[in-house]
């Protein structure tokens, strides 16, 4: 049970770090800017207009 606990927690930490790496790469590629540009204009599709 203890081994399973550490294996799972280790997997979570590995995914967490991989996620952080993806975020950094994504910001570097300009994705955060794309998200922001979409988010600061009213999204007509989201509100059901077009």
């Amino acid at each position: 049970m203890k081994t399973g606990f550490w294996k799972r927690s280790g997997a979570a930490v590995a995914v967490l770090l991989l996620g952080a790496l993806f975020v950094i790469l994504g910001v570097y590629r300009g994705e955060a800017e794309t998200v922001w540009r979409k988010a600061v204009l009213i999204c007509m599709e989201c509100i059901g207009i077009g």
Partner: protein, 287 residues
């Protein structure tokens, strides 16, 4: 109300208020345009909600996948991986504004509340199909002549966008109200359908339709915040299953992908066999 465990409801309400703190927007029919919208919030929270201070992860995912510039979204997937690895579907149970709406609706008395809908086991797979088709494949591949895709899930399904974005904005802005046509009526019908179902069944949208829940689901097994079942303490009385509003076999799968971590099973356990990874094991003479 007034029960000890209503702190979950307060947490949901506080997080909803915090992530939608641009109050002025509701009065003026405008949305927040600050830098905080570079970042996605963990729950389903439409970025066209007048109060929204952050971005919706599902909307953002479709926006990046559907853009001409990118074929994959490292940024949004990375954020979702981080939220998932930390807490899995705890996000659904504790931090999602639309989860709060469904919880409140389920408090409305109804003569025959159901534990699940007929065909529940099959219907639960629907959210994975929605994630794959409406959130990933169609925005990526069904593009116009400029190479731009559409946010299919937001456009045709998302009841959260209608409730938190569509209704407040069309109420405050006459031009938007005038532009609302069949699509708005369709999305309103989806919202009403989900709202009515929420009175009868607990969290129908989370169970059957939510693509964000589908993303977080696999993380439940190994997220840092998860359940641990002490099989020596468990007397298999079934109290956890009876308490589970998702009707899950908690004794056999305490970290089921369908669990939204509401904690009802943990509270119902008479022997304290279920605990989270954040709690230390109680000594036998602790009571």
């Amino acid at each position: 109300m007034g029960k000890k465990h209503d702190y979950r409801l307060w947490c949901q309400a506080a997080f909803t208020a915090l992530s939608n703190g641009y109050w002025k927007g509701f009065g003026e029919g405008k949305i927040w345009t600050g830098n905080s919208k570079h970042v996605c919030v963990p729950g389903l929270n439409c970025y066209s909600c007048p109060g929204a201070l952050g971005s919706c992860p599902i909307g953002s995912l479709q926006a990046v996948l559907g853009s001409r510039k990118f074929q994959i979204s490292l940024y949004v997937f990375g954020l979702l991986m981080m939220f998932g690895a930390l807490a899995g579907r705890f996000v659904c149970g504790w931090l999602c504004p639309f989860g709060l709406v469904q919880d409140l609706l389920h408090k409305i008395p109804f003569p025959k509340k159901l534990k699940k809908l007929p065909g529940d086991r099959v219907l639960r797979w629907l959210k994975y199909g929605i994630l794959l088709v409406l959130v990933i494949l169609l925005p990526m591949f069904a593009v116009d002549f400029t190479g731009q895709g559409q946010p299919w899930f937001c456009k045709y399904v998302c009841p959260s966008g209608t409730l938190f974005g569509g209704i407040p904005l069309t109420s405050a802005d006459a031009a938007l109200a005038a532009a609302a046509g069949w699509l708005f009526r369709w999305k309103l019908a989806v919202l009403i359908g989900v709202a009515l179902l929420s009175v009868v069944v607990w969290r129908p949208f989370c169970r059957y339709l939510c693509p964000l829940g589908a993303i977080y689901a696999p993380f439940n097994r190994f997220a840092l915040l998860r359940f641990r079942l002490d099989r020596e303490k468990c007397v298999r009385c079934g109290a956890c299953r009876r308490a589970c509003k998702m009707d899950l076999p908690v004794m056999d799968r305490p970290n089921s992908p369908e669990c939204v971590r509401c904690g009802a099973c943990r509270r119902a356990c008479p022997t304290g066999a279920l605990r989270t990874t954040l709690e230390k094991e109680k000594k036998k003479d602790d009571g």
